[in-house]
């Protein structure tokens, strides 16, 4: 039997398969490369970068919840300068599309980061995180404000020729309104979803379990919500979607593609099984063969409603 074609197109971006690794769940690739061949995966999205290094939130940063976890890392990152000096040289050794995720506190910072980083040939595209719920100065505000998201999209587009993916917040009434403004302002794709705002308390001390009070909920618990958000976007806006949220196995990937995703990202599962991407890609291959699906991209938005 002929092998299925797993390659997918997300706007101008081409990936050898739809399985990317999500921002904040692969570091800068070093550790993951000890488990898997990064060249075998669709792409890698680096931890959110800000202009200057960020120390991040004090502990405790994570807490487990039923079929999920809350995190409030607070965008700990090395900053643009060290990223270019220390991290890119390592990542350059691989032949894997490198998507650089940017998070900032101001509109100007988003633009400035993109402007500096666009000079790096190793970077294939940008994913703009307008939706991190764990940074107090601004993150959440942007993600919940259609106008701000539009302005940021236009702003970063203006300073780079590389594709721009806007990572959307699920903590809104209608995520499709945000996808729409991204499209209008020239964004190339959206990724959905980032984490959902959640919290947990210690019942003896009455303090939040997470230092930051709120954290972002990820993992299988949020999968049904993420799928509904992807479907909402697919049904109302014509823009490529990278699906994210609770994906644990190849079956979940198929579900996200049927709902409208052109590609997907693995997040929390990497913590539990760093081999997951490879296992999943194999599973997709077998499924396509068995079902006689020649190109996996046929699945995108193939729901029957």
């Amino acid at each position: 039997m002929k092998k299925a074609d797993l390659s997918v197109q997300v706007g101008k971006l081409k990936f050898r398969n739809p399985v990317l690794l999500a921002s904040g769940t692969v570091g800068y690739g070093n550790e993951m490369s000890e488990f898997i061949d990064l060249n075998s995966i669709g792409g890698i999205v680096t931890k959110s970068l800000s202009l200057k290094p960020r120390k991040g939130n004090p502990p405790q940063r994570i807490v487990e919840t039923p079929a999920g976890m809350l995190n409030a890392i607070g965008l700990q990152n090395v900053g643009v300068e060290e990223f270019i000096k220390e991290k890119i040289p390592f990542l350059k050794k691989f032949n894997v599309p490198l998507i650089c995720n940017i998070a900032a506190s101001t509109y100007e910072e988003y633009v400035e980061c993109t402007k500096i980083l666009t000079r790096e040939d190793a970077i294939t595209a940008f994913e703009i995180n307008v939706s991190c719920p764990n940074v107090k100065e601004g993150g959440l505000q942007f993600g919940n404000d259609v106008k701000a998201v539009g302005k940021i999209t236009a702003g970063v587009k203006a300073v780079t020729n590389k594709p721009i993916i806007i990572k959307l917040s699920p903590n809104v009434s209608y995520i499709s309104h945000f996808a729409k403004v991204v499209k209008e302002e020239g964004g190339d794709a959206v990724s959905a979803i980032n984490t959902l705002v959640g919290t947990a308390f210690n019942i003896i001390t009455r303090k939040p379990k997470i230092h930051n009070v709120n954290g972002g909920l990820s993992g299988p618990a949020i999968k049904p919500i993420a799928l509904a958000k992807v479907l909402e976007i697919k049904q109302s806006v014509d823009i490529p979607i990278i699906g994210i949220g609770g994906i644990m196995n190849w079956q979940d990937v198929i579900e996200f593609m049927i709902a409208g995703s052109s590609a997907i990202q693995l997040g929390t599962v990497n913590f539990i099984d760093p081999y997951a991407a490879v296992t999943i890609i194999k599973g997709l291959e077998d499924f396509c063969m068995k079902q006689g699906i020649e190109k996996i991209s046929e699945l995108t938005g193939s729901y029957i409603i």
């Binding site: 993951m32 931890k47 502990p59 890392i73 700990q76 299988p220 929390t268 099984d273 760093p274």
Partner: protein
């Protein structure tokens, strides 16, 4: 650092709620060092979702030993394993104890389950150094002496050994101990380690401590396990990668 599914050889109940898992895991047994840990998936399902970190307690040939108490859902599942069940282990992880060095006596300070990494430590150190173990717990029920050597005990309620906490116990003995070249190796709750740290600073003692905290990945990609560094106050260290064993003065516990 790899994943292996290793069969349980034996589940041993040491005391009420305190267990040892003996696991056939030759690849890990041959390379893991005292103080390093494994991140364990206690079952195949998504519940509980995350792995649980456990220090390697001992190694005997191709077998590794994990010591734990029933704390929550995950350790309950582990305690109910049967011979032949496969356990999913990720490791070896972290930076263990630095056994080598210019000292004659290793002072082991353990609070409760904090004894866990020391049987392997004692095995590895062999006869190259002397050992003195100080073990503390709330009551005699919490005192574990499994494969420990040259033991002095304290309990908060005085039900076994000296009444008081283990750092007080150590302090009572410190002048005598300091007559030799000593190095302290500690493991236990943060409250204990915090007191121990003060003691070490006061008495200018060399001390390595294994520190616990919540972890998601255990190998450096989630940034979930920060610890404040004394030397680099503008960034956190990661317990899972830079530790779990630290020079006790280098970190803010």
């Amino acid at each position: 650092m790899f994943i292996t599914k290793a069969p349980v050889e034996k589940v041993i109940e040491l005391k009420n709620h305190i267990f040892i898992l003996k696991i056939f895991a030759p690849e890990i047994a041959s390379i893991i060092k005292p103080g390093e840990f494994l991140n364990v998936k206690v079952c195949d399902s998504n519940f509980p979702l995350l792995r649980r970190p456990f220090s390697v307690c001992d190694v005997e040939g191709d077998f590794i030993f994990l010591m734990f108490n029933i704390f929550g859902e995950g350790t309950k599942i582990l305690a109910n394993k049967h011979k032949g069940d496969l356990i999913d282990l990720l490791g070896p992880l972290g930076k263990g104890f630095n056994i080598e060095g210019d000292y004659d006596t290793a002072i082991l300070v353990a609070g409760g389950l904090g004894v866990a990494p020391f049987p392997y430590f004692i095995r590895k150190i062999g006869n190259s150094k002397k050992i003195h173990s100080f073990i503390g717990g709330k009551t005699d029920k919490d005192i574990i002496t499994y494969r420990m050597k040259n033991i002095t005990i304290s309990t908060d309620d005085g039900s076994l050994g000296i009444k008081g906490n283990v750092v007080e116990l150590l302090e009572q003995n410190i002048e005598k101990l300091k007559s030799e070249r000593i190095k302290i190796f500690a493991c236990g709750p943060n409250a204990m380690l915090r007191k121990l740290r003060e003691l070490c600073i006061r008495h200018n003692l060399n001390c390595e401590a294994s520190i616990e905290c919540a972890m998601a990945c255990g190998f450096g990609i989630c940034q979930g396990c920060p610890i404040e560094s004394v030397n680099y106050p503008d960034k956190y260290l990661l317990v899972c990668k830079n530790g779990p064993v630290f020079n006790i003065r280098d970190v803010v516990i």
